[in-house]
């Protein structure tokens, strides 16, 4: 079943179109940077962007930081929101369940497919970022500099980049869990996607609001950008571990709710 879901996901033109669009933005930013030579000052704009003119090897991280706040969550919400509701809207859900495919199995397969999409997307964005960084900018293949200014060996840098990719993927899993839950609640994929995005927008908005500071540590988007801390010297694990724990909590609760709803629901689509 998991293989079937992966086949469906990656045989869909939409999946690849989404990934292509996701990569267009970092490319555009790179071209603009190159043409104008106007990098944001350190500490402003997306993280890492100020450093890439000096060292293109950081561009994969800059690319992730560019798509992370908006583009990546939208893509994940679209794909995860479509997972059950899309089948319901197309009417194929009833045929799958009558085939029969166990409801739990279907949900797990959908989750794995979404996870695969997240991983592929993040890796492709990082990969394209690497290509852009090493062709358009001066890359220093022998290591780089940390955000704190100290030098990093290239092995260190690639190790930390892998960790960052993993962290971003986990953050996106939280988005996927929201969208998947909404996807079992409605027969409209658009509704499920919008629901998940509404949660994220609300969370980002509350994060900027002082009055919301008591709940700020529990907002799903709170620790998203903590992957930057992986590139400090020494690595600051505090926000990263909190981010992982928080996402784990959200994913666990939301998936349990999605499961409880989906396995007891009347399929009338």
């Amino acid at each position: 079943m998991i293989v079937v879901e992966l086949r469906k996901m990656f045989r869909r033109p939409r999946t690849w179109a989404t990934i292509a669009v996701l990569n267009a933005l970092p490319l555009l930013v790179a071209v603009l940077l190159l043409l104008t030579d106007l990098a944001p000052r350190a500490g402003q704009g997306p993280p890492f962007l100020s450093a890439v003119l000096r060292n293109g090897a950081l561009y994969p991280l800059a690319a992730l930081a560019i798509v992370l706040p908006l583009f990546l969550p939208i893509a994940v919400a679209v794909v995860a929101g479509d997972s059950i509701a899309g089948e319901a809207q197309a009417g194929t859900l009833r045929y799958l369940l009558a085939r029969p495919v166990g409801r739990t199995r279907l949900l797990v397969a959908k989750l794995v497919a979404v996870l695969a999409f997240v991983l592929v997307t993040v890796v492709v964005v990082a990969g394209v970022g690497y290509v852009i960084g090493s062709t358009l900018f001066d890359a220093q293949p022998i290591g780089g500099t940390s955000v704190s200014g100290t030098p990093l060996t290239s092995a260190d840098l690639s190790g930390r980049t892998l960790l960052a990719i993993g962290y971003v993927a986990v953050s996106m899993l939280g988005v996927a869990a929201f969208a998947l839950l909404f996807s079992t609640l409605t027969d409209s994929p658009l509704g499920a996607t919008m629901g998940a995005l509404a949660v994220l927008v609300a969370s980002s908005l509350l994060f900027t609001l002082d009055a919301a500071s008591p709940i700020a540590p529990y907002l799903p988007t709170r620790y998203w950008l903590a992957f930057v801390d992986l590139f400090r010297d020494p690595i600051q694990w505090r926000d990263i571990t909190r981010g992982l724990a928080l996402q784990g909590l959200y994913v666990g609760v939301l998936l349990a709710a999605a499961w409880a709803n989906f396995t007891t629901k009347d399929i009338t689509s």
Binding site: V4, R7, R11, R94, R99, P100, T264
Partner: protein, 306 residues
């Protein structure tokens, strides 16, 4: 004979509406079972409950001898279904759709998958279908593809909810031939349909639903058994009344109903009296008459309360 579908006291409540209200079905192996009822009488809801898609509010279902929905994993692979029209992934070809559906569930090696898919496509007359995506199929082709999906696992029981919807007369007759052939091969068919002529030609047993209640469950042969009257067509109905006084039960234009279950005897009397007879037949109720008599108005008529 063994029971293929039995339900007892099956109820589905949607809010305040009882879509299905205490249905007791009894489908035996080898039946072609006609499931009739007006729009909104609860046919699709019942079919969904049989397949474990909708959970009954109360009542019990046994499918192929096992309790549903609990035994769905064991029972449903032996059942082929078409539920309220076909549904496919529009951007994939018909063959890929079937192959995905086949791979989605247990059973059947992937080595023989191609053969299964080809066989099912041949059965519904789509054997030569190319790589066109399903969204470019006509309605009839989609319906055929849906049917192919139901036949994919060579099921013992076919549950078909309006399988001939959207098909042209040729298509309908092809599907009828196909179902009869499968039936000869031992498949039990549970067919919900609005096309009474269709059901009349196919089914051995019919049930009629009215607003979620079962109002009739009977052998078709019994329902349409001769009434004991003879229908006479004649240009001079008044003279028939004169000759067979007392035996004429009704006159409708040139159509006269005469009591008596032997047309030859009636004919002899009329010819003896020199009355021209242009047509003569045993009177049988049509399925349409039976169904209309059993069920009230369509529950989809929502009339304003005074």
């Amino acid at each position: 004979m063994s029971a293929v579908i039995t339900t007892s006291g099956l109820v589905k409540q949607y809010g305040r509406l009882r879509a299905v209200d205490g249905i007791d079905l009894d489908v035996q192996a080898g039946d072609v079972y006609g499931f009739l009822g007006a729009n909104g009488s609860g046919k699709t809801t019942t079919v969904r409950m049989l397949l474990g898609l909708v959970l009954p509010t109360s009542g019990e279902i046994e499918l192929l001898g096992e309790r549903m929905p609990r035994a769905g994993r064991r029972v449903l692979p032996r059942v082929g279904a078409l539920i309220e029209g076909p549904a496919h992934y529009g951007h994939l070809s018909g063959r890929e759709n079937l192959s995905l559906l086949d791979a989605a569930g247990r059973g059947g090696s992937w080595r023989t998958r191609r053969r299964r898919v080809d066989h099912a496509l041949d059965q519904v007359g789509l054997g030569g279908i190319g790589r066109r995506p399903v969204k470019a199929y006509s309605l009839g082709m989609q319906q055929r593809l849906g049917l192919a999906g139901a036949l994919l696992r060579r099921p013992e029981l076919l549950v078909l909810d309006e399988p001939t919807n959207g098909l042209d007369p040729q298509g309908i007759s092809e599907v009828r031939e196909l179902l009869l052939e499968l039936h000869r091969g031992g498949t039990t068919v549970f067919l919900s349909s609005h096309l009474l002529a269709e059901v009349e030609q196919l089914c051995s047993r019919v049930v009629v639903l009215d607003r979620g209640r079962l109002v009739l469950q009977e052998e078709l042969a019994t329902l349409t058994a001769p009434t004991g009257c003879t229908v006479v067509h004649t240009p001079t109905p008044e003279r028939v009344r004169g000759t067979l006084d007392g035996r004429v039960t009704s006159v409708d234009g040139e159509r006269v109903i005469v009591r008596g279950s032997d047309p030859a005897e009636v004919n002899a009397l009329l010819v003896g009296a020199g009355i021209p007879v242009s047509g003569l037949a045993l009177e049988r109720p049509t399925l349409e008459e039976v169904v209309l008599a059993a069920a009230g108005t369509s529950p989809d008529r929502v009339e304003a309360r005074p």
